[in-house]
Symmetry: C2
Subunit: 235 residues, 2 copies
C-alpha cells in the first residue's frame, strides 16, 4: 500500500506477543511462589495484579518498566496475604530474561517465516529485556524487529501501541496480524483494525465482551498450518 | 475559588470510592466462590481480573457496565480453571446492589458531614447500581451527589475521571480529597492533583510505585477523627 515500506515482498506482518505466547512463564510463577512463602496458589493473583497495574500506570500517565511493576506487585501481594516476601539471590528480572520458549515456537516461527511473512515481536517487556528474552530462548533470529511498549510509555492493549506498531511497519492494519495468548491483547488489536490469532495456551481464555479473533490455534505451529492451508495469497 | 460553586460553604469536597471502601464485598466474593464450584480460593483472582478488564476496556475505547464485566470475567475464570460455572437464581448484579456498609461507615460519614465537608460518591459502579447500593446500605442520605464513571465511559483510575469530578464540584483539586481502600485509586487521584486518604481495609495495600497518600486510616470513622484533629480550617 505504501511505496516506502521496508518490507515490500512480505505476505503480511505478523506481530507476536512474547510473555506466555512465545515464552513459558512456568518458571517465573514458580519463582514468585517461592518468594511468597511457597504459596504457589497466589501466583495467578500476582500475575493478574501485574497486568492490572501495568494499565493503572497507563491510564494515570505514569511509567515504570514491566519488571519493576512485577517486583512492586510482588511486595503488594505478600502484604495483602500477611506474608514476608523472601529475598532471593536471583532478581526477578533475571528470571524474566531467561524464560524458555514453548516447544512449538521455533518450529512455528520457522514455518511462518518460510511462508513469506515478516515476523515482529511486540511486547510489554522493556526493549532491553525483550532482546535478552528472545536471545536467551534462541528465537531472536526469526524476528525482523523487536518493538517494546517502552517506546510509547503505554502498555498493551492501549490502542496507540497497535497503531504505532502498524504505522512503523508501513502496511495497513488489515495486512497485519497480532498473535497472542491473551484475550485482552487480541481484543485490543482487533479494535485497532488488525487481524488477530488467539493462541489457546493452558489457562488462557478469550474475553467474552471483546470482538472475536480471526483465528484460534492451540500453539504457534498449529497456527502456521492453519494459515498455510488458506487459499488466498495473504492473511 | 469560584463564585458559581453550588457548595459555597463547604470546608472541602470529600469523594468516596464505594465498593470495598464503603461497602463490604465479602458476600460478593462468597457468591462468586459458590458459582466457581465452591473454589473460594479463586475469588481474589476473579476480582483482580475484573479490575484488570475494566481498564482493558478503558484503554481500548470500549465500554460495558461494571456488573457486566464482572459476569464476563466470572465466565473466564471458570474456563481458566476448567470449572463449570454454576447457574444461580440470584444474578450477580443483585448481589452487588445489596452489599452492606462496613460497620464504621455510617458513623464516619455522619462525623465528616457534621465537620462541614461535602460528601460525594465517585464510583466504578454504573449510576443505577450505585444509587441502589447506597440506598440499600442506608448511607445514601450522607451524599450530595453520586457520580458514576458511566458518564465518561472510562474507569478509575483514568485521570479524566478525577478531573471531571473535581470540575463538576466547582472547586480546585487541592480542596478535594479522594478516599479509597485501593492503592490504584488513591494513586490516580493524587496524580490528578487531589488530596487522598487510603483506608487500610483488610487485604488492601498501597502501590509502592505511586505517590504516597496524604492520610492513612484503618476505617472511615478513624479518618473523621484524624481530619477533625487537624488545626487548619480545611483539609
Amino acid at each position: 500500500m505504501t511505496d516506502d515500506s521496508d518490507t515490500p515482498e512480505t505476505k503480511g506482518i505478523l506481530f507476536f506477543d512474547v510473555n506466555e505466547t512465545l515464552l513459558d512463564t512456568a518458571s517465573l510463577k514458580e519463582y514468585a511462589g517461592k518468594r511468597l512463602a511457597n504459596r504457589q496458589d497466589l501466583t495467578d493473583v500476582w500475575f493478574t495484579s501485574l497486568l492490572h497495574y501495568s494499565l493503572v500506570e497507563t491510564v494515570t500517565g505514569s511509567w515504570h518498566r514491566f519488571g519493576d511493576i512485577a517486583e512492586a506487585v510482588l511486595e503488594m501481594t505478600a502484604e495483602r496475604y500477611g506474608i514476608s516476601l523472601a529475598e532471593s539471590d536471583e532478581p526477578l528480572s533475571a528470571v524474566l530474561a531467561s524464560l524458555p520458549a514453548h516447544p512449538d515456537v521455533a518450529r512455528g516461527l520457522s514455518a511462518l517465516s518460510q511462508q513469506g511473512f515478516t515476523l515482529v515481536a511486540l511486547t510489554n517487556s522493556s526493549a532491553e529485556l525483550a532482546e535478552s528474552q528472545l536471545r536467551s530462548a534462541c528465537i531472536d533470529g526469526y524476528f525482523s524487529k523487536t518493538l517494546s511498549v517502552e517506546e510509547l510509555c503505554k502498555y498493551k492493549p492501549d490502542l496507540s501501541v497497535y497503531n504505532w506498531a502498524v504505522h512503523l511497519m508501513g502496511r495497513p492494519a488489515s495486512e497485519c496480524m497480532l498473535i497472542a495468548a491473551h484475550g485482552w491483547d487480541v481484543g485490543g488489536a482487533k479494535l485497532a483494525g488488525m487481524k488477530t490469532a488467539f493462541i489457546a495456551r493452558k489457562g488462557q481464555t478469550l474475553y467474552p465482551l471483546a470482538p472475536k479473533p480471526d483465528f484460534v490455534a492451540r500453539d504457534i505451529f498449529a497456527l502456521s498450518q492453519i494459515i498455510n492451508s488458506l487459499t488466498g495469497e495473504n492473511i
